[in-house]
Symmetry: C2
Subunit: 382 residues, 2 copies
């Protein structure tokens, strides 16, 4: 185990109907005026918005709305939210939606109390020192944002998909209601499975020190995603599977599966962010294309851990068998594994490669991720 | 997954020499006057006390000492600490020692700011509403107290070994330095292994709903304890093993391996607390006697999970094989598995059974734990 610091103050309220108590949770922390961030009008049609808002009204919490956040959320919407929050004098930001919504809410929470430009937090020009209190009802299990201090937003002017983070961005209270997640489409279920697996494997493969206890926890998470995704494809109403799937998403990126390990990177995310920034493909769909290719490209850097992955996750012998098993599983559940399925080819692919090479610099990745290396990885995904 | 609430605000500082920064961590949270709780003079002879105190002095934190906390900590020492803390006007309690020390520190932290008798928190007459800030340098990995809100103390007047808890008792900062734990005796290493395994199995076997993801996390913990204990018996200086062992102890009881499960009990602890309250045996030594006996007595209540335990932890087929493998492993590492090894026999055993039957009522255990049932369990440990 290497030295580490760990603290995660987020309160999780997990269970059916917990969103109805959000007003109470917020009130306990002094909320009086909230900006509510959401995506499509579906949260209103489904009654979810009203259920949450009823609890806020009972506690005397006033609110204004910032709807229309899209998947792969964009900076211009964040700026709009900041303006709204300032005018209203919001003390809290409440996200009702998936990870895109929550990530936007975090950026708004930090940007509202910052005098400069919110994009400074993404470029590293400024650090998040304070923020409005963040709360969320998470309707899609994937990003893990409900129990961490990070967020990802695309600058729609420059097509840079970057992240921000800061201790004050840990949500104060996150509601995870598996039942609310039952309406997620089949496509987004499998993209989410891909995303959670990606969060699980990045450090697992790239950290040169990775204690066996942590490896076992990561493998437990991956095996849970595989088992519950299959259960949910058979029966989307299986609330036990839905709950475990959701909790695996949270555990994959709440810091606990990253303690005591050596320095690590997010190469799959670095590459995929370019795909969704340039082509607006679903994040998880991009990741399931990148992962098997990157694993093949990278496996000789850490042969023991790749062999371990094959054995522990799939009961197979060799690194290559493990990679192929993952790819076949992605094919089986119906998330893409080839660039052609996402129509990323020719000039568009070149643009994606350029963008990824830019990410490699901006993210201060290992210098091995040159434009040429990224092209080599993509060549394995054709 | 069943509904749950989870929040654990403790900051963990893990790594060699982190205890030297305790003064800084405390200062960041406004500490000015600390009561330092410790056990034997060994912490002074080893230089640890001075290393920590140097950091406090650098930050201008004044302190008074409350030494002499013993294993199976007692209420009279807690009362002494409360009096000292009040006279001194302490704002913080810093424990330098193992779980006994930290549990005493938690009771002192709660008792100092409570007008009534601190024992009220243990009997359920009062709830912990506030407390002095608790900090700790944990020198023995076992109780998990460094990342939870509970503590156990024995009332030396009545021989009741009870617990208290409350959100304000989560340590603000816990230092886990594996190197400091290298000096733990061989005996206390194996007793600690037993204690961590006990923390792991109580809910694992007694919760009627136990999601597979959580079961896998518990099994990862148990397998880690087995692997690292053997490594440490071979080489006490193996800091990687020491670190994983310590982190398994923390993970066993920080709440995360208890989310989403049904109601559960602590029958092994309920029974063992009587043994250490009456006979002052080491907690882990008592537990390794109780566990195989209790498992044999209980296994038909939850056959699937016992079979799973045998398969996942030991690669065996049947529940009984799994129980015997655990018992044999306890024998192998040298922690007791029979009452005679602890000299608990005859009239003393009867007294222990009476005491345990009292615990069963006080802890509001399942009504199945009658005096007769407890005697039956002990009969399996002869």
């Amino acid at each position: 185990m290497q030295a580490f610091s760990f603290q995660n103050p987020t309160r999780i309220e997990f269970g059916v109907d917990k969103e109805k108590q959000m007003g109470q949770y917020m009130s306990e922390l002094g909320a009086k005026k909230a900006l509510i961030v959401y995506g499509s009008e579906r949260v209103k049609k489904s009654g979810l918005f009203d259920d949450v808002v009823k609890g806020l009204k009972e506690q005397g919490i006033e609110f204004v709305e910032c709807g229309g956040v899209k998947s792969n959320p964009i900076l211009s919407k964040v700026r709009e939210g900041i303006e709204l929050a300032r005018k209203f004098g919001a003390d809290s930001v409440l996200s009702i939606g998936g990870g895109s919504c929550l990530d936007s809410a975090k950026a708004i929470a930090a940007g509202t109390v910052y005098e400069g430009d919110v994009w400074d937090f993404f470029t590293g020009k400024a650090k998040v020192q304070q923020a409005l209190n963040v709360f969320d009802v998470i309707t899609l299990a994937a990003t893990g944002s409900e129990m961490n201090d990070g967020g990802v937003v695309t600058n729609d002017a420059t097509q840079q998909k970057y992240s921000l983070s800061g201790f004050s961005l840990f949500p104060k209270v996150s509601v995870i209601n598996p039942k609310l997640q039952s309406t997620v489409s089949r496509d987004y279920l499998v993209y989410s499975a891909s995303d959670i697996i990606a969060h699980s494997i990045e450090a697992y493969f790239t950290a040169k020190v990775h204690p066996e206890l942590i490896s076992m926890q990561v493998e437990a998470n991956i095996k849970t995603v595989i088992r519950t995704t299959e259960a949910l494809l058979n029966n989307p109403e299986d609330l036990d599977a839905r709950g475990e799937f959701a909790w695996a998403a949270t555990m994959a990126l709440n810091g606990l599966t990253h303690v005591g390990i050596a320095k690590y990177g997010f190469p799959n995310h670095m590459i995929e962010h370019a795909m969704s920034a340039v082509c607006d493909v679903p994040h998880g769909a991009g990741l399931s294309v990148v992962m098997p290719a990157w694993m093949t490209w990278y496996k000789d850097q850490n042969p023991q851990q790749f062999t371990r992955f094959a054995r522990e996750v799939f009961g197979l012998q060799t690194a290559e068998e493990g990679i192929q098993a993952l790819k076949q599983w992605f094919d089986k559940i119906g998330t893409p594994t080839r660039l052609s399925q996402l129509k990323i080819e020719g000039a568009v692919l070149e643009e994606v490669i350029d963008n990824a090479a830019g990410n490699a610099v901006a993210w201060r990745m290992d210098k091995v991720y040159t434009r040429e290396a990224i092209a080599d990885i993509f060549a394995l995904a054709k």
